[in-house]
Amino acid sequence: MVNLIEVRNVSKDFDGANGHHFRVLSDIQLTVQEGEIVALLGPSGSGKSTLLRIIAGLVSPTNGEVYYRDRLFSGANPGVSMVFQSFALFPWLTVLENVELGLRYAPLTRAAKRDKAIEVIDMIGLDGFEGAYPKELSGGMRQRVGLGRALVMAPDILLMDEPFSALDVLTAENLKRDLLELWQMGKIPTKAMVLVTHGIEEAVYMADRAIVLSRDPARVSHNLSIPLAHWRDRKSEPFTRLVDELYSIMTQQKEVRAILQEPAQATRKITTIPNVTAGAVTGFIELIDDLGGKVDLYKIGETLLLDLEDLLPIVETARIFGFGTVTSGDFELTGIGKRLADATVLERKTIVRDQALKCVPLMERILWVLESKRNGQMPREFFLEILQNSLGKDEAEEQLDSIISWGRYTELFAYDEDSKLIYSEEAETRETRAE
């Protein structure tokens, strides 16, 4: 076995506000060996894509090294090519020209390059579309061009950043099968593939190994081997068992984080609320109540046609507010959750408000700051700066937007976009009364 890629002690910091750094990847170790497909899994924002870009040499790590065949490299990794979620095709170049781009500096004559590009185009099933522009193609065909452009370089390792997530279900399935066929039959010189995905089923279907990342900062929390032979039967017992196992790993990230986090690095003093609307959470609670108060998250994801990526934030929010608990892939309503499901629209607000004050310390702190001010208002930047001490700039903005949205729903405080002021409605009425 040859180590094609070895990632040693890689960490990555991004710059936050006021000279703060925040860590997205911490002490990552992983190897990719010849002949395997590796899936990188993790909650959204966990830094899967950043890790993939570090392997590709597009982003340089803050600490640690990446080795290709036991050697360091500078700039783009000489042994890899990449397929992008957004396809990243050059819209002003034809299919042929896009594919040829991968051969630009290959030591070949112009004619040989063209032949090779056409050969690859035939192989990925775009025969006849050489002269077409990307805009004339469907999404699936566009991703085929992206794949062709990557394969024409004859890379040792093919990196794929959520390559199927911008496609509809059937198209994605079709492309996965074709790619696996090329891989299985040895039609491509590629020796290993790394696939970033948020689809657990996709990972179990494609990969030989799943690496699960935790969040804030990301570490390798699990390294799960998928010892099934291709082609895999999605209905088979070993398949569903692996899917269930990964589901329960992913939904218990919280505990994983708590165990892994050393106190010195615990910069995150605040519980963040995922960017989810109140409507989505109450809708989810109602649904769970209708289904008997306890569900398997994998199953509900499937019935709702929701990716884990979309479902997890809702589950997480419901958990933070104390409406439910998560144990080994199951979600169960608490007493408060049940009350919420049965309540009227107005009662719901009261319940959510009480829970927000009890379970989300940030809410309480904002309210406290507003109440202690005589005019009951405070500029947005004030809170933003506090958040930026422990979150990145963009994330802090997002978090504040999320908090404001919950503040508005619960009527704990309000926000005026024009003046960018957060204010307590109570304090305002108090003041007008005083006048």
Partner: protein
Amino acid sequence: MYRWLMQIRLKQKIGWPDLVVVVLIAGTLYAVLDLGKGMVEPFSVQAASTISLDPKYLPYYAGRSLLRMFIAYLLSLAFTLAYGRFAAYHKTAEKVMIPALDILQSVPVLGFLSITVTGFLALFPHTMLGAEFASIFAIFTSQAWNMTFSFYHSLTVLPNDLKEAAKINRLRTWAQFSKLEVPFSMIGLVWNSMMSFGGAWFFLAASESITVLHNHIQLPGIGSYMAEAIAQGNIPAQMYGILTMVIVIVAVDQLAWRPLVAWSQKFKLDQNDEKDAPTSWFLQLLRRSEWVQQAFGALANAIVAMFPMRTKPLPQVAAANDLKRRKQVWRWIWILIWALVMLFALRYLWAAFNDIAKLGLMQILFAVKMGFYTFLRVSVATVLGALWTVPIGVAIGLNARLSRIAQPLVQVFSSFPFNLFFGLIAMIYTAFHINFNWGAIPLMMLGTQWYILFNVIAGAMAIPSSLKEASLILRLTLVQRWKTLILPAIFPYLVTGLITASGGAWNASIVAEIINWKQKTLTANGLGSYIATATTNGNWAEISLGIAVMSIFVILINRLLWRPMYRLAENKFHLE
């Protein structure tokens, strides 16, 4: 397979489009040759001042003007690509280069004309080349800045995935430039080129015929023809001149810009929405002509063959130390270059400061007072322009059919150099004894109001039909409709139009506040006439003072009025 391309090559026929194109191209080539010869004729005041008003010379004059315009445009384009790219990729340089561009954009170009003319005349003492260069330079300065901004902006918003794809495909600098950066910027670049080129006619007309140090310089061209016609009071000649100008502008628009705009649509990143794509009959004609296709193909192949692709293997792992040392050396070289540039700039700034200081406080205050007069005039011209263009523009923009006809028309209007009309207007003013202090306002409006109209039409066209339908369902009254829908929706466009119009009006003041009609001179009190008079007298100190005051006025207005307005427009009234 690749067969379909081959098949097209097989069925070649000569069609009438081929003939038209051959005639056009051959004619153009010869014209460039012939006109180019005239440029190096020996300079003498005598030769420089003979402009014949015989209309048979007009095609020649128009050709000379056009040549100047295109040379200046190519220079602007080269400047744009170099400056824009450098600014976008060198973080330190960017901090200086972008604000510098912003200021250059605010400075009244025409004020500099006298300086550049004398400078270039000194460089080429015995030919007309100096004056030619000065004129080309004036046109260049009116085009380059916003083209550069457009390119720079495009580079800063290059989509990350495309950049990564280029990197993973290991494209080197040139490939990245030609396959990614220029194509991505193409739409903005072409659009801005068209607008800049249109705006530059005004500067062409103003820069061909100028008086420096009582020395009257006239370059053969349509601007000089008009100036001469105005000076002689020859009304038919003025009519001929205006007619020629209209023909030239329409021809350039139809044969150069429209095809380019239509062609550039293929660089659209957004891959849907083909419905309202601009079209061009000329481009269709070119695309249908087999000969042209072949000629372009051969040309492209020849160019490609000239640059053999480097098949040098990709650099292996470079020693980190070596890289670091090289970086250090470059850093010092840059610091040195910047230091030299700064020293140079400071030296001349000091000289200018000394010159102005010699004039004394009273003179400076006088210039500032003149600045206020011009400021008032510009404000009135802009507001009046907005008052009539907003209702008309909205009416046009809300009517789909009307706007399709009117929009290109207004665009041609906006590129027409209205300083050509000044002679005729001066005649009317003298006949009716109109106070020129007020009379200069319509002259400014003549050139600048079209920008407002153009933008308002575009704004009204962009109102989503769902909002229009909603306002009908809600039975909004006319006033409510304007208050809640139309004005907020066109606001960002209106602001853009007003910014362009007011900037244009400041520049126009230099030619609009003082007109010579036969032997009479009409003068309005203002900074424009102050600079123009100083130029005629060759009073360098006063010219510097005038330009400095005007630049400060323009920059202050931009910072204090337009920028906040623009931000408001972007944040609050931006329709997604």
